[in-house]
């Protein structure tokens, strides 16, 4: 190959590379804009909607009353004392938020009714200490609880069932 030919080949390669870099830059910017729009979309849309993996990340953002309304499933032992149950016992999950959600839905009349939830939890407790299970809504002073105010301000029992022996 002559010197002129080699030079033309090099120039052609350089031009081709510049074109490829320009295209890569345009494509990269486009992907970046799409990613940014997608992540922001849940808060831009009306109404804002939490989903997965695109989320509004609403956790811990809402104002709460000092009194905490807690939908619970608890065990009751032979002396009538409460036995705290794990999320696994309550809803077959190790995620406390999902266990709490399952109880709240049952209390609100969505999904399983409180009686069905109660029996299902009791069935998981066969052979354990609790003799009964209660589905309740307890009201607590959330901040006061950690300062020793452990008694509920109010209690509503939605369902009670015996643990099969």
């Amino acid at each position: 190959m002559t010197g002129v030919g080699a030079s033309q080949t090099r120039q052609g390669a350089a031009a081709s590379e510049r074109g490829a870099v320009r295209r890569a830059r345009a494509a990269g910017m486009l992907v970046l804009l799409v990613v940014a729009a997608a992540v922001l979309w849940p808060v831009i849309r009306r109404p804002p909607q939490d989903s997965f993996p695109l989320s509004t990340y609403p956790m811990f953002s809402f104002p709460l009353e000092p009194v905490a309304e807690m939908d619970l499933v608890v065990g009751v032992d032979a002396d009538g004392d409460d036995v705290r149950l794990s999320p696994e016992s309550i809803a077959g999950t190790d995620e406390v938020i999902q266990a709490g959600g399952a109880v709240a839905r049952a209390v609100a009349g969505q999904g399983d009714d409180p009686g069905a939830l109660c029996r299902r939890v009791a069935a998981r407790l066969v052979g354990d200490d609790p003799v009964a299970v209660e589905v309740r809504t307890d009201l607590y002073d959330a901040i006061g609880w950690f300062r020793g105010a452990r008694e509920p301000l109010e209690r509503t029992v939605h369902a009670r069932c015996e643990v099969p022996r």
Binding site: A20, V43, P63, L64, L72, P87, V103, Y140, W145, F146
Partner: protein, 317 residues
């Protein structure tokens, strides 16, 4: 450090974490095979495809498929195919898990980063099957920027949610304090580990407005991480400390963030890997490493070396 080396290192860390996560959480993910159908409330991709829960076998097989698909993606084998397949399976499996009435928020960023990686040339380095393409450095640079943008915007969105739902009272009032007390109490009453420290500190009223303000600075101020490499590192450190505080005050574990994986776009991971590899070689290890240094020409295993310049790659027929 080249951009492709950094991007390849991010692939290793992010996909490696995702694989470990799937393995550790496999029993939990498989547990969704026998949930009450009444609790099924599909979101995202799952809502587009399903009206009711999947059968038991399908749930188990999809979790298994996601684990298996992670392996070739991790090592960068046929990334253009295995990367997107893994991204789809991971998204599906974790969306399905979030389709039972409560959307959790600890896995979103991992899934987003895997999706962005799957669309990028993330196997142009630190891969057994390096897939080079024209203008690879430029493409890798933009992919890293997209990963960084996804990261910071998730924090911005979380900050916006607090102002939108709690107003300025979220910063100046008792919203955070009440949230910490409620969350710790709920965890205790539902039999989950909680933070007695956070619960006790909820009684210290003056503490919470400054903590709320710091939290908002970290979240809404996240875009500063995009300004320079140094600011990216500083913000990553602050955000990491923020998650440590969340763990301490609320017993909420964000493993992806606490292990630093979420901040991979801001860390010189490629450089660290290159140094580790150089040390390994100096130590006299002569065996061919399983992953090859992008800037060291290798005897051609796959017929390409990332050490070639972009022009060399471009001029290849």
């Amino acid at each position: 450090m080249t951009a492709r080396s950094h991007l390849g290192a991010i692939r290793l860390v992010v996909v490696g974490y995702a694989l470990a996560y799937l393995l550790v959480r496999a029993p939990h993910l498989i547990s969704y095979r026998d949930r009450p159908a009444g609790d099924f409330d599909p979101v995202g991709l799952v809502a587009l495809v399903l009206d009711g829960p999947l059968g038991s076998t399908a749930v188990v097989l999809l979790v298994l498929a996601a684990v298996i698909a992670a392996v070739p993606a991790l090592v960068g084998w046929r990334w253009r195919v295995t990367g997107p397949i893994f991204a789809v399976l991971l998204t599906w499996v974790l969306t399905y898990r979030n389709s039972w009435g409560v959307v959790l928020h600890t896995e979103n960023l991992m899934v987003l980063q895997v999706i962005v990686l799957a669309l990028s040339p993330a196997a142009a380095a630190w891969a057994i099957d390096r897939q080079v393409a024209p203008a690879i450095e430029e493409r890798a640079r933009w992919a890293i920027r997209a990963l960084a943008v996804a990261t910071v915007l998730t924090y911005v969105v979380a900050g916006i949610a607090k102002l939108r739902n709690g107003g300025w009272d979220w910063v100046t009032g008792d919203v955070l304090r009440s949230q910490v007390a409620h969350d710790n109490l709920r965890k205790h009453l539902l039999g989950d580990p909680h933070s007695p420290v956070g619960g006790w500190l909820a009684g210290v009223a003056w503490l919470w407005p400054p903590l709320a303000a710091i939290s908002q600075v970290v979240e809404l101020g996240a875009p500063v991480a995009l300004i320079s490499r140094r600011l990216g590192l500083i913000w990553s450190g602050v955000a990491w400390a923020f998650h440590v505080a969340i763990l301490g005050l609320m017993a909420i574990l964000f493993p992806y963030q606490l292990l630093g994986v979420a901040f991979a776009p801001f860390l010189p991971l490629g450089q660290w890997l290159e140094r580790a590899q150089a040390r390994w070689r100096r130590a006299g290890v002569r065996a061919q490493p399983p992953m090859s240094d992008p800037d060291t020409p290798q005897p051609s295993r796959m017929g390409s070396s990332a050490a070639r310049s972009d022009s060399a790659v471009t001029s290849r027929p």
